[in-house]
């Protein structure tokens, strides 16, 4: 399947991926509304790891053999019809088992409501994930490497 | 307004040429008839002819055709000629009053040979010596103009429709083995007799239809080899390039034509190795001699003639053959007019020269 890959040598640590991820998952899809008005503000599904000069955008790998799915106690974490690993927020009880299980640290607690997790869903409504389209240095690519 | 000599004037035109490869001589009637048919392509502001083989009795002498604005110009010029040449015969070129032809200059002819001592002291070959003298005459003597200076040939030109010019010079009284003609359509200027075609240099004459967009580049290139383009005409550029390549650099005529109208790089890429190397070298070394923009020219010299089109054929040119005779012209009709049933008639491709050589030369 197509996944987002980070090219560490070109990541400049600007975090525009995070910001645009938030916008893409906001209600208004408008950056100023999303940040200044909307409550709660969504969490980014991508997180930039940084130890300058090294940095890269990290997000869910949508593993074939996803331990988060296996470990989820309510079945909230599941694979959808696009093969994307996503979380059904209605079912999530906020136990955070998945957070502990994910070997990449790609799942985060949503501090807005204390229980539901937030993670990359590969932007199902867009032709290309928002982080990829908005990365100014082509440090994120969306390709099928098998 | 500057006289044409000092300013470049764009013009459109008609050209025609006939060569009997066997060397048989024929009168100027055919060429007049051929160029007259294309009257539409001229506007009465210039016409002219070059005739080869017309002076067999003086075949070894340089035949100078001269225009003089006044007596004084003639006197100074004759002094110059006397100083450098032995003059075998001199006199006005016979002309006939034609009502359309007005303001003609004094038109004279001299059969000359360079003075031995002048040749020796100049250290030049006689052709080069004559060429230098022509340049000096044109440059230094106000009101004098050398119309032609080759052996056994002459140019006859003026302001008017070409057929009237032919009548004026009574060209039906001359016989030559090769004739070229030109009808001119300059876009401005009242017309200057010297500015009419053909343009000549020794026995080389050029008639030309077109306008070179590469004029500035070509002129600067020629300048490097000592040619000064004083006439401000494209024809002069074409003539000098041919002179440089064929006479001074001794290059085959076909190659000279391929320099002036080379194949496209695309085409060169596709050629077999040998040819590709040749054409790449030609374009690399002689790029500034490429004649760009629309043209069809007929260049004639004692041994034959060549007709050439620009490489994307922006001006018309047709060729035909019947027996020994080669015809080239701006329009097919101008050939059919004088040769109704040619053995072969064709439209040469852009950049493909049509070359006709006298048989005695070919052998």
């Amino acid at each position: 399947m197509k996944r987002v890959y980070a090219l560490e040598e070109y990541c400049v640590g600007c975090r525009l991926c995070e910001i645009n991820c938030i916008v893409a998952h906001s209600q208004s899809k408008d950056i100023i509304w999303a940040f200044k008005v909307e409550e709660p503000r969504p969490l980014p599904g991508i997180l930039v790891e940084e130890a300058r000069p090294i940095s890269f955008g990290l997000q869910c790998r949508h593993c074939d053999d996803a331990v988060c799915i296996k470990s989820c106690i309510t079945g909230a974490m599941h694979r959808d019809e696009r093969d994307t690993v996503v979380c059904d927020t209605d079912k999530c009880v906020g136990c955070w088992t998945c957070i502990m299980a994910c070997p990449y640290g790609a799942i985060k607690a949503n501090e807005n409501d204390g229980k539901v997790v937030s993670k990359c869903d590969l932007c199902p409504d867009l032709s290309q994930p928002a982080c990829v389209s908005h990365c100014p240095n082509e440090a994120l690519i969306y390709v099928d490497r098998g | 307004m500057l006289r044409e000599k000092y300013e470049r004037v764009p013009s459109g035109c008609a050209v025609s040429g006939i060569l009997d490869r066997s060397g048989r001589r024929f009168s100027g009637n055919d060429i007049i008839q051929s160029i007259a048919l294309m009257r539409e392509r001229s506007n009465g502001l210039g016409g002219g002819f070059a005739a080869y083989g017309i002076y067999p009795e003086y075949r070894d002498h340089y035949a100078f055709h001269m225009f003089y604005d006044d007596e004084q110009a003639r006197e100074i010029s004759e002094r110059f000629l006397n100083e450098h040449f032995n003059i075998a015969e001199a006199g006005p070129i016979p002309t006939k009053k034609v009502s359309w032809i007005i303001n003609e200059p004094m038109i004279w002819r001299y059969f000359v040979l360079p003075k031995e001592e002048k040749l020796t002291s100049s250290g030049l070959l006689s052709d080069e010596f004559v060429a230098q003298c022509v340049i000096n005459l044109n440059k230094r003597i106000d009101g004098a103009f050398v119309v032609s200076s080759g052996k056994n040939m002459g140019a006859f030109k003026g302001v008017g429709y070409p057929e009237d010019i032919g009548e004026f010079y009574q060209l039906y009284n001359y016989e030559g083995y090769m004739w070229t003609a030109h009808g001119r359509f300059p876009t401005n200027t009242p017309g200057w007799w010297g500015g009419a075609h053909p343009f000549t240099l020794l026995d080389l004459s050029v008639v030309h239809n077109g306008e070179l967009s590469s004029y500035g580049t070509n002129r600067r290139y020629l300048n490097e080899f000592g040619y000064e383009c004083t006439m401000q005409t494209d024809t002069e550029v074409a003539a000098y390039l041919l002179d440089l390549f064929t006479r001074r650099q001794g290059m085959p005529l076909e190659i000279a034509c391929k320099i002036m109208a080379p194949p496209m790089w695309d085409e060169i890429e596709r050629m077999p190795d040998d040819e590709r190397t040749l054409y790449t070298a030609l374009r690399t070394v002689y790029g500034k001699a490429l004649m760009n923009g629309p043209f069809s020219i007929i260049a004639a010299f004692n041994s034959g003639m060549v007709a050439l089109n620009d490489r994307i054929k922006l001006r018309p040119l047709v060729a035909a053959e019947k027996g020994n005779v080669l015809y080239v012209s701006s329009e097919e009709s101008a050939i059919i007019e004088i040769c109704p049933k040619p053995d072969k008639i064709w439209t040469p491709r852009g950049g493909e020269p049509v070359i006709g050589m006298l048989e005695e030369v070919k052998a």
Partner: protein, 500 residues
């Protein structure tokens, strides 16, 4: 001590738009923006801003504008703000003012006073979309004539030539003055375009040898990174005598820019200043130049054309003629607006002559001496667009070198702070954090785009003039007319006034 120097720019942040995302904070290597922890707001220290516009471009809400500081001194046509500020700076530093890029002063730009011709009626214009339009250019030495045997076969063998698909090359910029990613962008674009880029005086990084076919290897007075492999790595060699931005002085690469890679490539110790002498100490005369040209030809077995690059100075025509006679195959002339990675401000702004005049003078001089057709002439020093190129070629150049416009294509915003090594665009820097900002994939693509766009425009202008091959434009000054020039200027340029 309090600095008397006013901040040059003010950072304007539209609070209605700013979302406090701190992208600007992370992008400014000059530490202008910062997050004020006390109120959680992003603020700016204007005095450090160089107006490179990295933050402006990256701010996702377009909340930023950088403006010149409107603070003025009492009006004085002589003691301008610039004049006063420079005195203040030097009174504080006691040093030569260093700067970079090309001469920004208000000298006339002759390109903008020259207009082009087009065909009407008497000579058809040519549509480049429908007819072939040729820009292929051969640079190198040409014989006076080609020789043929009696069968009409070519005997003459041409000396090595550079073949350009478009008469544009990327001018010398050394690894050290610019980043490896910038070098790679240029090298890759040159390869894709079928043109050449020039290594500059800093040697060739080992990762760039694979672009050798499209490389011109430069040899300058410091001889940094020059060895047999280097000389043989490229398609041509260039001896750098001078540079338009700083005629008469050598280069200076500060030790901070000399990291491991630069040190290895230049063959100098890490952290040491790389200072190239003002002259080549083995070239004090034209005969010496001849020796170096032939030494390089020997070293490369006569397989590569040798170019000699000089700054356009007063007697450039005579110098060019000497260079041609000394055996150079290509003469590159760099006008006084040419850029640099670092130069003393007084030199950059006051030495040299405009490239337009230099090209016209050189072409005419070589023509008068009957040797113009033997050598190629390359014009450099602020070619800003395709019309400048057309004009340069019509004045007599065979091709042009571009550098500043190439850098602008890959992100340079002309802040003229290359000498600080803190280029926010990853170009004039060796800081790994900044270098990675220039992704060579993007850089190469943008360069290819730029040259391709110019190629289209050149074809269109040529077609308009009724010319279908670039060689028919070379030295074709009939195609140019001057507007608003004095007779003397027209004479030097060898062109007529509009209307003539």
């Amino acid at each position: 001590m309090i600095s008397y120097v006013l901040p040059e720019f003010l950072v304007m942040r539209d609070e209605n738009r700013c979302i406090q995302c701190q992208v600007c904070v992370r992008q400014c290597a000059n530490d202008v923006h910062y997050l004020d922890e006390k109120d959680g707001k992003v603020k700016a220290d204007d005095a450090k801003c160089v107006n490179c516009q990295r933050c402006v471009t990256f701010c996702p809400t377009h909340a930023l504008t950088i403006i010149p500081n409107p603070q003025e001194f009492k009006a004085n046509a002589n003691w301008t703000k610039k004049a006063i500020t420079e005195v203040q700076k030097q009174a504080e530093s006691g040093a030569v003012i260093l700067t970079s890029m090309g001469n920004p002063q208000e000298y006339p730009i002759y390109w903008d006073k020259i207009v082009l011709n087009a065909s009407q009626v008497t000579n058809p214009s040519i549509d480049p979309l429908r007819e072939p339009m040729e820009l292929k250019t051969y640079l190198g030495r040409k014989p006076d004539k080609l020789e043929f045997d009696e069968k009409g076969r070519l005997i003459t063998k041409l000396t090595p030539q550079l073949v350009l698909n478009v008469p544009i090359m990327f001018s010398a910029m050394s690894f050290g003055s610019i980043s490896l990613n910038a070098c790679e962008s240029l090298a890759r674009a040159a390869t894709e375009l079928g043109i050449y880029y020039n290594t500059g005086e800093g040697g060739l990084h080992s990762s760039l040898y694979r672009y050798g076919k499209n490389t011109i290897a430069q040899v300058a007075s410091g001889r940094f990174g020059v060895h047999a492999n280097y000389l043989n790595a490229g398609a041509a060699l260039e001896i750098k005598i001078g540079q338009g931005a700083k005629p008469g002085i050598g280069g200076h690469l500060p030790g901070e820019k000399v990291g491991a890679e630069v040190s290895a490539t230049r063959m100098i110790p890490e952290g040491s200043d790389a200072i190239s002498p003002a002259p080549h100490h083995d070239i004090y005369s034209i005969e010496d130049l001849r020796q170096l040209i032939y030494a390089l030809k020997e070293a490369t077995n006569y397989t590569k054309p040798v170019s000699v690059k000089i700054a356009a100075v007063h007697n450039v025509a005579a110098i060019a003629s000497g260079i041609a006679r000394a055996g150079a195959d290509i003469i590159a002339i760099d006008g006084f607006r040419g850029g640099t990675g670092a130069a003393p401000l007084r030199i950059r702004d006051n030495v040299g002559i405009p490239i337009e005049m230099a090209i016209a003078a050189v072409d005419t001089r070589l023509k008068e001496e009957g040797i113009r057709h033997q050598v190629s002439v390359v014009a450099a020093g602020s070619i800003r667009n395709s019309a400048d190129i057309i004009k340069a070629i019509a004045l007599g150049a065979d091709a042009v070198y571009i550098a500043t416009s190439a850098l602008i294509a890959i992100g340079c915003h002309m802040c003229q702070k290359c000498n600080t090594g803190k280029c926010n665009w990853g170009i004039a820097t060796q800081d790994p954090q900044l270098v990675k900002r220039l992704n060579p994939n993007i850089g190469a693509r943008r360069l290819v785009n730029l040259v391709t766009a110019w190629e289209h425009e050149i074809k269109e202008m040529l077609g308009g003039m009724g010319i279908n091959s670039i060689e028919s434009l070379r030295g074709n000054r009939e195609m140019l007319r001057g507007v608003g020039l004095t007779q003397k200027e027209l004479d030097i340029l060898g062109i007529k006034a509009a209307g003539e």
